[in-house]
């Protein structure tokens, strides 16, 4: 099947197998390997991207379902060399160790902050429930999301990337 998808601001048109998952399309066909896959049951969230501005697990979306839509991956967040406030906060707060869950965790955090710009600790924890991290114990991830929320509320940072 032929699909046309905007990914991180570039339009792609490709033939794909109907069964191809969006995460495999991004990685294997487009070389967008910044988005990773960590499980086969939609539990871990490592593959989280934005589809038309809302977070989805790209392992549970078929590539053909993205036809005609906009996808933003972690690779499309930084604008003109400036990191997204959530990326910056993950770095500053030591919210990543091995970094494998990080792309999905960052994409989900941005989605969470879109819905609730001023979450308390429990709201952050519940908002990230679909994304697993094995290294950090989540404490610094929670801290980073709250720190980024502060930065974004002050409006001193650029808006969220591409798809918004």
């Amino acid at each position: 099947m032929r699909i046309t998808v905007d990914v991180d601001g570039t339009r792609y048109s490709d033939e794909v197998e109907p069964r191809m998952l969006l995460v495999h399309y991004l990685r294997d066909q487009l070389g967008k390997v910044g988005t990773v896959s960590g499980c086969d049951t939609s539990n871990c969230g490592a593959c989280t991207v934005h589809l038309d501005g809302r977070s989805v697990k790209s392992c549970s979306v078929l590539a053909v379902q993205a036809d005609g839509h906009e996808v933003t991956t972690v690779e499309g967040l930084a604008q003109d060399g400036t990191l997204h406030p959530v990326q910056e906060a993950f770095h500053e707060c030591h919210a990543l160790q091995c970094g494998y869950c990080t792309p999905g965790m960052i994409m989900q955090s941005i989605d969470l902050l879109e819905e609730n710009p001023d979450p308390d600790e429990q709201q952050v924890r519940e908002g990230l429930e679909g994304n697993l991290c094995r290294c950090t114990g989540y404490q610094n991830i929670v801290k980073a999301v709250q720190s980024a929320a502060g930065t974004m509320r002050e409006g001193s940072a650029p808006q969220a990337g591409g798809a918004r």
Partner: protein, 799 residues
């Protein structure tokens, strides 16, 4: 942070500085280099057909349909590779008579666990390779399945490997009476039993099977066509892997290169030489094409090694005033179906830790590795030490409860006081330093111990359905694996040294080569700080090179909290060598005597004058080499191999409060305080991160995780839908703090932190749960302490 002893100097003030990581830039922007990201021209994809049965004879395999499927280049079975594949390495024969079955990468005539590899397909794409697995037809003849550890060890059990004649591989013993490190434990037990002033506490504790569950599933790519066959692998151990592949497959060592690019966690789970690595290498060589294998999570759960899985029969003898007089440990350790790289050595590491931080006069430890029809076990975060710490810390709390003594008080009564260091333990180690009093006092204060005890009493009094439990864990661990002579005495197949090289470049930048292999810990940042501190160069001017046997040719990799304590110390020694080499050159440049120079903050200064040259000036002068002192070579590079003289012994006091709903059995973590003493700290932020993550994993063992098999040997918890690694919503925020008692066994005073949180937290949580429900007659609850188990324990106890 409470400074307990005067920390050694940090010349440039880098120690104790929470620098954000150099590693992050590419990881937060998606420019990461996971093995699974690699694509090489002409690369084939390998898929593995795995046995659905736990124990069976292979009576026939038909691959003809698979071979004819689209995109399929080759299909191999065990029979095809039997000549080449050799045996997967097992590097730790714990006794001379240890029994060990053959361990082929691809099963040849029998499968021994559900997930054992039976055939591989090589195809143009990953989808096509997996499609073709459906075209392989295997005939199996069922064999008896052996699952329960205790019955597997019993006489007359069905056998996992009939040729061995038993499921019990070996028995390893340590007895303080025989070793001369303490008294006779049987006598201590007999005395405690016969005396009115004595007490003997017996428990059989279970360490469930766990899955390391690193977030990046394992992946391997092999390019057989480079000058050296090159393997990229998601591994913790590129150096050991290279050596083992050379030794087991007969490939000349200099014709192999192993690269560990970005590695997404390991926790011991990637401390392995895997069947999949061997198969990727063999098939790539056979076909002359690059081959990639990337496992799914389900494959990872069923085929990558598991951890823990012990049955601990424990006997603690004491006086009624709480003074411990003896400890006896009888372990059964579930090996699963094969011995992997370190399998039988893991429980043996625990032998040195069952005495914990205590002065125990008599000690006996025995351990029998036992085969079962399950995936093999091997290192998982802490590797033998969490199991041992759980044993002793649970037993100390049980003793306290039986005697009606506060669990902190009973520990204080028995622990090594800070004046008693260095202390020779009953298991034969020498603890160099420690200050259990300081860590405990700080933890007690942060936790609000006395107030929580009062609240607990009130809730008991009013029969609140939600009861409060307080758990204590005062742990230590042996880190910095390891002095080579000690490993030799334990019959381990290698040493425990580490290598470092420091290269001063002409422009004053510094390249540091290390043999450790990070996979999330932040070593690039931490080691840069060590170098910047000692060499007086800017943090950003230091590059750390690792994880590639071509650019970092020598090393023993990352596990056992050894990276900073052994690898980092090696780097510090290599820096010292650079400074020593620069000194005569600097003296020559300034026409002064070497003794007149002092080196501070990157400069050689003539004492009492303003005259100085920087180490970077010396580097440039050495590069030009126009005017070197007589007989001095034009190089500032250094090459150091450091073998530690002793282990390091981090310790800490962890306190946990849980609320147990006695009507539903649900356990809620209310607060958790961890005060760790990991010696001198290079980067507090990284240390805290290690503690947080460690706590999460240890708490997960106590409350959430277990690899469960059904009666046919099928793994029921075979994905993240059933194997419950905690989410953000399952955990509270932890309160962490440190005391700082520098190690005296290494020049940096560091002790290691990678495993501390995991080791300490499991018994703290379980002790807390029991503290809440002991009033109903409960004396033990198997982990994980799920609502069902806790509720049942209350019902049974209350009967």
């Amino acid at each position: 942070m409470t400074a307990v002893a005067e920390p050694a100097s940090s010349p440039a003030g880098e120690f104790g500085r929470s620098r954000a990581r150099k590693e992050d830039a590419h990881l937060i922007t998606g420019r990461s280099r996971w093995t699974g990201n690699l694509t090489l021209p002409g690369m084939l994809h390998m898929a593995v057909l795995r046995s659905p049965l736990a124990h069976a004879r292979i009576t026939g395999i038909d691959v003809s349909e698979a071979k004819s499927m689209p995109g399929v280049v080759a299909v191999y079975t065990g029979a095809d590779l039997a000549e080449e594949q050799g045996d997967l390495p097992s590097a730790w024969p714990i006794t001379p008579d240890m029994k060990k079955p053959p361990a082929p990468a691809l099963a040849v005539d029998t499968v021994n666990f559900a997930g054992d590899a039976v055939a591989v397909v090589l195809a143009r794409s990953d989808y096509e390779a997996h499609d073709a697995l459906e075209g392989i037809d295997v005939d199996y003849e069922d064999l008896p399945v052996v699952l329960d550890l205790e019955s597997a060890a019993a006489e007359g059990s069905e056998l996992v490997h009939p040729d061995l004649g038993t499921n019990v591989s070996a028995t390893w013993k340590l007895d303080s009476g025989e070793a001369g490190s303490g008294g006779d434990v049987e006598q201590a037990i007999a005395e405690a039993e016969s005396s009115p002033d004595g007490i003997v506490v017996r428990r059989t504790l279970r360490q469930q099977r766990l899955v390391p569950a690193f977030m990046e599933p394992r992946a391997v790519v092999v390019d057989p066509n480079a000058q050296q066959a090159t393997m990229w692998s998601s591994t913790q151990i590129p150096h050991i892997l290279k050596l083992m592949l050379a030794m087991t497959l007969g490939i000349p060592e200099h014709k192999l290169r192993v690269i560990a690019p970005d590695v997404g966690g390991g926790f011991g789970g990637k401390l392995q030489v895997t069947p999949e690595e061997v198969l990727t290498l063999l098939t790539a060589r056979r076909l002359g094409k690059p081959v990639k294998y990337a496992e799914s999570r389900s494959e990872s759960m069923q085929a990558a090694h598991h951890g823990r899985a012990q049955l601990q029969k424990l006997t603690l003898a004491a006086k009624r005033d709480g003074t411990v007089t003896g400890m006896k440990v009888e372990l059964l350790a579930d090996m699963g179906a094969y011995m992997r790289l370190l399998s039988p050595g893991i429980p043996v590491l625990g032998a040195f830790m069952f005495n914990g931080i205590y002065k125990i006069p008599a000690y006996h430890f025995s351990c029998s590795p036992v085969f079962t029809s399950k995936v093999p076990t091997d290192a998982y975060r802490g590797a033998g030490r969490p199991e041992a710490t759980f044993g002793i810390e649970r037993m100390m709390s049980e003793l306290a409860a039986e005697l009606g003594i506060d669990p902190l008080e009973i520990r204080e009564k028995n622990w090594i006081t800070h004046e008693e260091f260095p202390f020779n333990t009953v298991s034969g180690l020498t603890y160099d330093t420690g200050n259990y009093e300081a860590a405990t006092a700080r933890a007690r204060e942060l936790f609000g111990y006395d107030a929580l005890r009062r609240e607990q009493a009130e809730r008991r009094e009013r029969k609140d359905p939600v009861q409060l439990g307080i758990g204590v864990s005062t742990f230590t661990e042996m880190c910095g694996l390891a002095p080579s002579r000690v490993l030799g005495s334990l019959d381990y197949g290698a040493g425990g040294w580490e290598h470092a090289q420091v290269r001063m470049l002409p422009t004053g930048k510094v390249e540091v080569v290390t043999g450790i292999s990070p996979h999330g810990q932040g070593h690039v940042t931490g080691f840069s700080q060590v170098v910047a501190d000692r060499l007086g160069v800017p943090f950003d001017d230091v590059e750390i090179i690792h994880g590639d046997t071509q650019s970092a040719p020598k090393g023993l990799d990352t596990y056992g909290s050894r990276s900073l304590t052994v690898g980092g110390v090696a780097v510090a020694h290599a820096v010292a060598t650079v400074i020593a080499k620069a000194r005569p050159i600097a003296a020559h440049m300034m026409e002064c005597a070497e003794d007149d120079l002092e080196f501070t903050e990157g400069r050689f200064q003539v004492r009492g004058t303003e005259k100085a040259v920087g180490i970077t000036d010396v580097a440039l002068a050495v590069f030009a080499a126009h005017d070197m002192p007589e007989g001095v070579e034009p190089s500032l590079d250094s090459d150091v191999t450091y073998d530690p003289e002793n282990f390091s012994f981090p310790h800490g006091t962890h306190l946990c409060a849980v609320e147990v709903d006695t009507e539903t059995g649900r356990v809620e973590l209310r607060s958790y305080v961890a005060v760790d003493d990991v010696g001198r700290v290079v980067n507090p932020m990284l240390v805290e991160g290690q503690v947080h993550g460690g706590l999460a994993q240890g708490i997960a063992q106590a409350l959430f995780e277990e690899a469960v098999y059904d009666e046919s040997g099928t793994l029921l918890s075979g994905s993240f839908a059933e194997y419950l690694i905690p989410t953000a919503a399952d955990l509270p925020s932890f309160t962490t703090d440190r005391t700082e008692t520098p190690a005296t066994s290494n020049t940096l005073g560091v002790k290691g932190v990678g495993e501390a949180g995991t080791i300490a937290s499991t018994p703290a949580v379980v002790n807390a749960v029991l503290d809440a429900v002991r009033q109903f007659g409960v004396r033990d609850i198997d982990m994980p302490c799920t609502p069902m188990r806790v509720w049942k324990a209350i019902q049974e106890g209350a009967r």
